[in-house]
């Protein structure tokens, strides 16, 4: 069952990456499928927890560099069929039936998605019609690599914390932060694809999500959000002369971090209060 969860984790990311590569209607379809497979992953995770089975978020690296969208879609369909075959090890009948049904539909749709040429790996480092300076382009490049990984890391950490707490308030806060990080990851990933530098976020180090000191994690997280705000501010200023759109985007992300900080402060206060009561 742990192997099944790992395979599902990999297909979730591959579908997300395919979404960045696609255009038009296909893009939204692939993002929606990616969201569905992420939910499969979380349900499998819950099964593992309920059964007391040890698991982690390790996975293999996922090769995504293709010239044609059809190539990655064929690989995704192949992996989904492998998952379907592995479902035999899952003891939750309702979950198996749900995933099998989804896989049947997803692979059917994938087979009918119109092929297109992929430019997400052409290293152009051009962002739309913006004529960014070399310095701004370099700053944006580094930011996107750092932050796309960071958002993936946050999704996985909050997901792990959420899966291992029974506290409704904390579950709500972690879910908000997961949703917010999904928006950021999708935004940054799309920008990377548009600039021809798309890459899958690297595997997360176990000790980052298998957290033993939640208080310290939340404190560190607040400080990291403050640093992220600074990065967004710097980037907004660096691209401000060349692109109002990009500058406004980074200002928006910067302001969103304020709410994350507030949520994490409240989560910290709540966590400390419930632990003091024990």
């Amino acid at each position: 069952m742990t192997r099944l969860a790992v395979s599902t984790h990999e297909v979730w990311l591959e579908l997300l990456m395919a979404g960045f590569m696609a255009s038009g209607k296909s893009k939204q379809i692939l993002f929606d499928f990616s969201d569905i497979v992420f939910r499969h992953f979380t349900w499998m995770e819950q099964y593992l927890i309920d059964e007391g089975i040890e698991y982690d978020y390790n996975r293999q690296s996922i090769p995504i560099k293709v010239d044609k969208l059809s190539v990655i879609l064929a690989d995704i369909a192949f992996r989904l069929r492998q998952i379907d075959l592995q479902l035999i090890v899952c003891g939750d009948q309702a979950l198996c039936e749900r995933i099998t049904s989804d896989i049947g539909y997803i692979t059917f749709v994938l087979n009918n998605i119109e092929d297109e040429t992929v430019s997400a790996f052409d290293l152009s480092r051009k962002f739309g019609d913006c004529d960014l300076t070399q310095e701004a382009t370099d700053a944006l490049t580094l930011f996107l690599f750092e932050e796309s990984y960071k958002e993936y890391e946050l999704i996985m950490i909050y997901n792990y914390l959420k899966a291992h707490t029974q506290d409704h308030y904390l579950i709500r806060v972690f879910q908000i932060l997961i949703d917010e990080s999904f928006f950021h990851l999708k935004s940054f990933g799309q920008m990377m694809a548009d600039m021809g530098i798309l890459g899958v976020p690297r595997v997360i180090y176990k000790e980052l999500y298998k957290i033993t000191d939640v208080t310290q994690f939340l404190k560190d997280g607040i400080n990291e959000e403050i640093l992220a705000k600074e990065e967004c501010k710097k980037l907004s200023e660096a691209v401000g002369n060349e692109s109002v759109e990009l500058s406004r985007f980074f200002d928006c992300i910067n302001m969103q971090e304020d709410y994350h900080i507030e949520l994490m402060k409240r989560a910290l206060e709540h966590y400390e209060s419930i632990n003091n009561d024990k």
């Binding site: 690296s61 560099k65 290293l123 750092e146 180090y205 403050i226 640093l227």
Partner: protein
């Protein structure tokens, strides 16, 4: 960072990233300033110890991951003697680089050295613990202090 196509490829798809399934040694390079670290896994074979396979994982920035990708690619297939040359040459180059830029690569090189030293110790004592080395370069530009609290080491 000078973003040529080779560097971008390493950033998009870091080579040798993740825990090596079959390894007989590992080592850690760490930055005591901020809790960042690199762990290198080795699969060593032969009487003249040779790095048959290598991988790394990092808690660190993109520069560290890129350095890890490049250095582990260089080290794969080398005998320990040649790998020591690689370590010495890399540390030599880093001497001429500003400390805040050198810190990430130094962490990777020290993790490789730690993994090789761990292997040599384990030839004598199978249960020898994983060796860990601390970097000397500072990740923060001089006259600049880090923002926020530091993570525990």
């Amino acid at each position: 960072m000078n973003f040529d196509s080779v560097l971008l490829e390493h950033m998009m798809e870091p080579k040798n990233y993740g825990e090596l399934e079959s390894h007989n040694s590992e080592g850690i390079g760490k930055n005591p300033e901020n809790g960042e670290k690199v762990i290198v896994f080795l699969d060593v074979k032969g009487s003249d110890p040779t790095i048959e396979d290598i991988s790394f994982q990092a808690i660190g920035c993109m520069t560290t991951v890129t350095a890890g990708s490049i250095i582990t690619s260089e080290a794969k297939g080398l005998t320990f003697s040649r790998a020591q040359d690689l370590i010495a040459a890399t540390l030599g180059i880093l001497d001429d680089v500003p400390p805040e830029e050198a810190a990430c690569s130094e962490m990777v090189v020290l993790a490789l050295k730690a993994a090789m030293d761990t292997y040599m110790e384990r030839r004598k004592d199978f249960e020898f613990p994983v060796i860990s080395y601390k970097i000397e370069n500072s990740c923060y530009p001089q006259n600049n202090t880090p923002v926020g609290d530091l993570k525990d080491d």
